[in-house]
Amino acid sequence: MGNLNDEKAINHVHTPVEGTPDKEPPKTSVGVLGWLKENLFSSWFNTILTFIFAWILYVLIKGTLSWVFLSADWNVITKNFALYFVGQYPKEEIWRVWTSLSIVSLLFGFSSGLWKGTVRQLSVTLSVIYAIIAVMPFITGESRVWLGINILFIYAGMFAISKIPKHKVITITGWLISFPVIIFMLHGFGVFSEVSTNLWGGLLLTVLIATVAIVASFPIGVLLALGRMSSKLPIIRWVCIAYIELIRGVPLITILFMAQLMIPLFMGGINIDNVLRVMIGATLFTAAYLAENVRGGLQSIPRGQHEAAQALGLNSTYRTTFIILPQALRAVIPAIVGQCISMFKDTALVAIVGLIDLLGIAQTIVANPKFLGKQMEAYLFIALIYWVISYSMSYASRRLEKNLGVGER
């Protein structure tokens, strides 16, 4: 076969040609004063607006800062610090929670050693948060040691992983088995002394419920979306549509109540753990919304992609796995992460069905006569925790989107 590259024209090499030399674009930045003039004081009306907003900002910031540093009583946080994080988990068994956290830290370290970029930034942020907590004056010595160990694990994992053979396999399997291992650690299941789930609480419970709901609902949501889009299997399509529309038509709190009351009924008297019931309810709920997000992605794939895959002789399973789903999921990453963030925050509703999650624990604490009238401090603190975690997720998703943008059409 002849090489067709004989003609140089084929390669589109840009050769420099004689002509007008390129000029620099006109300067746009004109220093701080110029920026101020252009953006804040460009007309008399804007000048007035600038002063009004500056005054409002001043009042707001002054009020906030003087409250935070002068009038607020942060004892409601410092005296109950452990409660916010682990609820009523027994003090003598608390090492099991720390060990679980250490596993997560180590895995974060491994991942950031492998994939760098966003994961590394998140891990560093995590270690900074550990460090900030560790230097707080009210933290016990034992907690400081554990926090130190966690920081050490992050950085040790980061540097050690590349020296271990099969590091990718180890890291991914690590993440996969970490969750059952952690549940096992926390509960005990007879190996350690049992800590029943009604003692789990605070941020620990919030994170566990959110993780299960997000991780378990993902495959279910993708299958529901594929089912809803399937033209060859009408019965499956109708079942998927019915499920999605039914769930989306009902508020989460209703589903949580139904999970509390109806799952025991359906299971014919077999007692299912309270926390597990809530997890099932949250998973079923999130799956329906995820399915709709994924469906949006599936519909955004041009017909030509399906046809090209068909023309190559790929069967429908291969077409979906290699061509359609990867593109569809990438297109809806922002929507999916948005759903995850919203699920994470929605876990606050489990406080209503009697679980002591982060919100539940704050309610319990401020109900204590010792901390009467300290709602502001307590709720502000848990709001900060929710914000830090939600913002990290949204930041990670923006970075992920950017990184996956390679080869965008």
Partner: protein, 256 residues
């Protein structure tokens, strides 16, 4: 399946690799293919011409079952195009297709684009698939682009990758659906060069195109479509220089 043909056999004595008998197709109530019959011999290059909306693209897409037909019969390489998924997949293995919009997979590198089907459909080991993919990229003149993504290539380069991707399955038939219509004028030549070389190598080709120069030079036979039916067929000389049918003359007068 048909035996490999010998390239020195004259065209008339070769066997038909595509047999279409009285195909009819409707989109809703619109009758888009009307009793179309066409046989294609092994190694023959057939160029399909016709005004837009005449059904020529629809016709070429019925051959690898991207479009279903409602009446008639299509036999490709001895396999009947039916509703049977396995038959359809078997036919698609033997026919490569190149689209107007390239339709490369934007989330995969060029090399992955080309090796995907050989690895999963032909079940070749990765090393073999990659070796053949690199040979094909060499053949279409862009081996240095193997690890880039489609979005980083020019239109002409993308279309050449699409041809390489189709060839990687080692098909017996290549279908081209207006392969140069979405290209900037300066890139048309590089794609036509690849197709010209492919035709010389003895590939059976069905080409829908508006490139008259290419049709005249490369085609063994030209088929003119209008309004869902075949108006005239013949060698390039017959059709271009001595068109018999009124509508052929009209079409040629509009484009030449």
């Amino acid at each position: 399946m048909l035996e490999e043909f010998k390239s020195d056999t004259p065209l008339e004595e070769r066997e038909d690799i595509i047999v279409c008998k009285n195909i009819n197709k409707w989109f809703g109530k619109l009758h888009v293919l009307k009793d179309v019959s066409l046989n294609v011999k092994q190694g023959e290059v057939v160029v399909i011409l016709g005004p837009s909306g005449s059904g020529k693209s629809t016709f070429i897409r019925t051959i690898n079952a991207l479009e279903e037909i409602q009446e008639g019969e299509i036999v490709v390489d001895g396999i009947n195009v039916s509703h049977d998924v396995q038959d359809i997949e078997a036919i698609r293995k033997e026919t490569g297709m190149v689209f107007q919009q390239f339709n490369l997979f934007p989330h995969m590198t060029i090399l992955k684009n080309i090796t995907l089907a050989p690895i999963w459909v032909r079940k070749w080991p990765r090393a073999k698939a990659e070796k053949i993919a690199m040979e094909l990229l060499e053949r279409v003149g862009i081996p240095e682009q193997a690890h880039k993504y489609p979005g980083q290539l020019s239109g002409g380069q993308q279309q050449r990758v699409a041809i390489a991707r189709a060839l990687a399955m080692q098909p017996k038939i290549m279908l081209f659906d207006e392969p140069t219509s979405a290209l900037d004028p300066e890139m048309i030549k590089e794609v036509l060069d690849v197709m010209r070389e492919l035709a010389k190598s003895g590939m059976t080709m069905l080409v829908v195109t508006h490139e008259m120069g290419f049709a005249r030079e490369v085609a063994d036979r030209i088929v003119l479509f209008d309004n869902g039916e075949i108006i005239e067929t013949g060698s390039p000389e017959e059709l271009f220089d001595n068109p018999k049918h009124e509508r052929t003359k009209l079409f040629l007068s509009q484009i030449l």
